[in-house]
Each structure stands twice: as structure tokens, then as C-alpha cells.
Chain length 267, copies 2
């Protein structure tokens, strides 16, 4: 029986990955978690493949120094660009959010017409399209970059005319394609879920990869014999590369019940 | 008579400072210019004072290695947070955009009620308010952070319902204060000038600090005896820390006639 008290590491470019943190704390309530938000370099979504890979490597190395037993890439852009590079170089299992999101989308679609929204980087990478087609080659995947959704979510403009108009602009072309499932391929987008749902209508199911990712992590923990001892009291830590006090404030949108120290790290 | 062929260095967090580059190339058409866009770390406007100072120092050091004779901090957030630190540590003259912007606003206001819009960082720094009150202690200064303006400009959504609604939300509180002058305290905002002007009405004069900054630089060049020899053919270079091809594309919104090589730099 496993008895591995080391924490699970999670990183994101900023606060968005806290949706994954939250699901992990629900699915694996006894596991310790250490979260790294690279708030000094945020956002990743508008940056190049090479730069995102470089930043993702730096995040991974920092978490390995915290002795993590498993690494979760909670950022969609980093998962899209850097997952293969991380998997091939790191000695611990690595889980991204794209494959779980693709799997979740396929388990929900009825007509095999799937929309994916994400950052410019995630969409350009075609990572979701490839992951979905790898699992079901006759699916039809339509993508749309939505660069204004992250600043809207961070500004807290999640209801009202502005997000409604922006959502209409981005999502109407996908609706014209007859999608019945829409992947929220960026960890910020669940904050805009209600305006997105209103725009696409109840005929379209929204898929947030956070929960599916947590399920995948639970499987990996089990299969790799990495579970902590039963009854362990989990320890949570948050590391950020800029402005811990802002992180603390914004994180309250994401985590209603969890609270833990936020530490500044330079890397 | 001066005969200093060294270039003038200009830096910004990204492409926005090209408005300053353009004005410099107009006011000092014989001077060579080297522009650094820190596109790997963009944006600065949402980051903390300490991080912005650290990044600004790194930009300055990189340009000093290019043997610049004068440094222009074209980014409002970096000017607001880091100008004093740079002035006190560098051996070349340093010019920011805040003081020229403050001066320009005061030369245009008739009722001494001045609005300033900028990033979260620039507004929090109070740099414009202090610079304006230092020049005219009985002026009234009203500030408003507009975090959605940069992504709107970068997305190219500069006309239509979305920018109009966003502008209305941000600017109405300033209009209630009776301003007759509005400082565009971020180098991206001139791209939204028409929707901003439409929102505030013709009774409010917009102030873009780029031109005033170029005038200040021309004065400093003259007063410090730094001018190049008359008739010099200027050389232009662009350095970026990420995605040279994106920079080239976006820079066409800013620079209609100038073209020059874009080089990737790591720092």
C-alpha cells in the first residue's frame, strides 16, 4: 500500500488553474497540493510556442524543487505547447488539461460537432483538435480564439452588455457550424460560463476540463502507486512570481473555502 | 558641434511604444533609433511595482549594451514605477512619458480639470497626478484604470459596439467631473482615440504624450550635446523578447512608413 506524502504540483500562468486546484482538492481530499502561478509572466496565451515551453520548463523545475510527486499543467496554453517536452524530460508523471478536456467533450457530444474556445496560442497549436481526432477520427472540431475573455474575467465583467456582445461576436461562427458541445479551453473561461451558456443556448453543453483533469490525476496517482497514507491532513501552498496580495484577492473568485499562505518566488 | 552617431534607445513592454518611436523619427529624422519591445513579459500594466522595476532595469541594461546615448522609457507603467530608479543608476540621460504628458495636458486645459486614463499600475502609482500637481498645484486630476483597452486595441476591435460600450463604462465617471482634457496615459490608447473622442465629446481634448515626449528628447539631445552629425542616414533596429513575426505584423498598425529588421533577444 502506498504511503507517499509528497505533494502534487500544479502550475498555471496565473490564477486560472485554481479551477483545477479546486477539483483536485475535491477528488483527492487527503493529498497535499502546491500551486504555482507564474503571475510575473502572465499571460501565456498570446506568446510564442518557444517562449511558453521555456516558461513551462522553469515552472516545472521550480515545482520539482518542492519535491512534487506528480505535475499537473493546469494552463491550457502550456498543455498545448509544452506537454510533450515536459513528459519527455521529467522523472515524475505529467498530466495536462487538453486530453481530459477532449475526452470529456467526446463523452458528451451527440452529433460529433465540437467547438473549442481558447487563447490565441491554444487555438494555433491545434492541440485540442488533434486530441479529439486521435480519440474519434470522424468528429468535426471547430475552434475560435477569444483573447478578450481573459481580461473580461480578470476585470470581473462577467455579466451585462459588454461580455454578452463579446461572446456573441466570438461564438456565433461556432453556432453556425451546428456544434452541440463547447470546450472551455482556457482555465479563465468558467468564470464567464453563464454568459457563454446564455449565448450558445441550452442546446450546447459546456465542457470545463478541470473536473476531468482531476479524475485523470486520481487515476495516475492510483496506477503509479503514489497515494498518500489514508487520513493524511493535506497541506496547501500557493507560490506566485508576482504580487501575492493580488493573487490572494483574485483567488477568492475561484476558491470559496480553501485558504492557505501565498508565497512570492523568483525564478 | 556634436557628432554623436550612437543610437537613441527606446523601450516598451510591447508594441505600444512605437507611437513614441514614430514621433522621434519625425522630430529627429537623422538620429539612429533602437527599439526594444519586451514582448515575452508583456503586459507590465497589471504587474507590481517591484516586478516592473526589475523588468525595466533589464531592458535598460540590454539597450546600454547596444551603446545607446539616451534612453526613452516609452511605456507609461515603466515610466510611472521605474523612472527614478533608472535615472539614479544609469550614466545616460533618461526620458519618460509621464512628465511630457503632464506638461502637454496643462498646456491644453482651460478649466484645470484633467482626466488621466492608464493601466492599473500607472493609475495606482499616482505618477501623473503628482507630475501635474507639481507643475500646477491647483489643478484637479481624476484618474481611471482601463484594463480592457489594451486587449481591445491588440484584438483590433477599435470601432463598433464593444469598444463603444467599454469606453462608456470607463469614461462616464470622468465626464461627471467636468474634465476638459484627457491624457491617454498608455501607449496603446491612441489606437482607440476615435472611439474615446466620440465618447467624451468634442469638448474634451485628448492628449497623447508621444509627441511631447519626442520634443523633450530633442531638447535633451541638444542640451547634452548628443546630436549626430548633420545629414546622417539614420539606422533603425527593433529588438523583441518574443515572437518577432507577430511584432512585425502588429507594428504595421503603428508605423506606416518605417520598416526595419526585427531581431529576437533573450534577457
Amino acid at each position: 500500500m502506498a504511503d507517499d506524502s509528497r505533494p502534487i504540483g500544479i502550475f498555471d500562468s496565473g490564477v486560472g488553474g485554481l479551477t483545477v486546484f479546486r477539483e483536485l482538492s475535491r477528488h483527492l481530499p487527503e493529498e497535499s497540493l502546491v500551486y504555482l502561478g507564474d503571475t510575473a509572466r502572465v499571460p501565456y496565451g498570446s506568446k510564442s510556442r518557444d517562449t511558453v515551453i521555456r516558461y513551462a520548463n522553469a515552472c516545472a523545475q521550480l515545482l520539482l524543487k518542492q519535491d512534487v510527486k506528480l505535475l499537473v499543467v493546469a494552463c491550457n496554453t502550456a498543455s498545448a505547447f509544452a506537454l510533450d517536452a515536459l513528459k519527455s524530460t521529467l522523472s515524475v508523471p505529467v498530466v495536462g488539461v487538453v486530453e481530459p478536456g477532449a475526452y470529456a467533450a467526446l463523452s458528451r457530444t451527440k452529433n460529433n460537432h465540437i467547438g473549442v474556445i481558447g487563447t490565441v496560442g491554444t487555438v494555433a497549436s491545434k492541440a485540442y483538435t488533434q486530441a479529439i481526432l486521435h480519440l474519434r477520427h470522424n468528429a468535426a472540431v471547430y475552434t475560435q480564439a477569444c483573447p478578450l475573455f481573459v481580461p473580461l474575467a480578470e476585470e470581473g465583467w462577467t455579466t451585462g452588455d459588454v461580455p454578452r456582445l463579446v461572446a456573441k461576436n466570438y461564438l456565433e461562427p461556432l453556432l453556425m457550424r451546428g456544434i452541440d458541445t463547447l470546450v472551455l479551453g482556457c482555465t479563465h473561461y468558467p468564470l464567464l460560463a453563464s454568459v457563454i451558456q446564455e449565448t450558445v443556448g441550452i442546446g450546447v453543453t459546456l465542457v470545463d476540463s478541470a473536473e476531468e483533469t482531476a479524475r485523470t490525476v486520481a487515476d495516475v496517482v492510483k496506477n503509479h502507486n503514489l497515494a498518500c497514507s489514508p487520513g493524511q491532513i493535506p497541506q496547501y501552498r500557493f507560490l506566485v512570481s508576482d504580487a501575492p496580495e493580488n493573487f490572494l484577492k483574485t483567488s477568492r473568485h475561484f476558491l470559496k473555502q480553501v485558504s492557505a499562505p501565498v508565497e512570492w518566488v523568483d525564478f
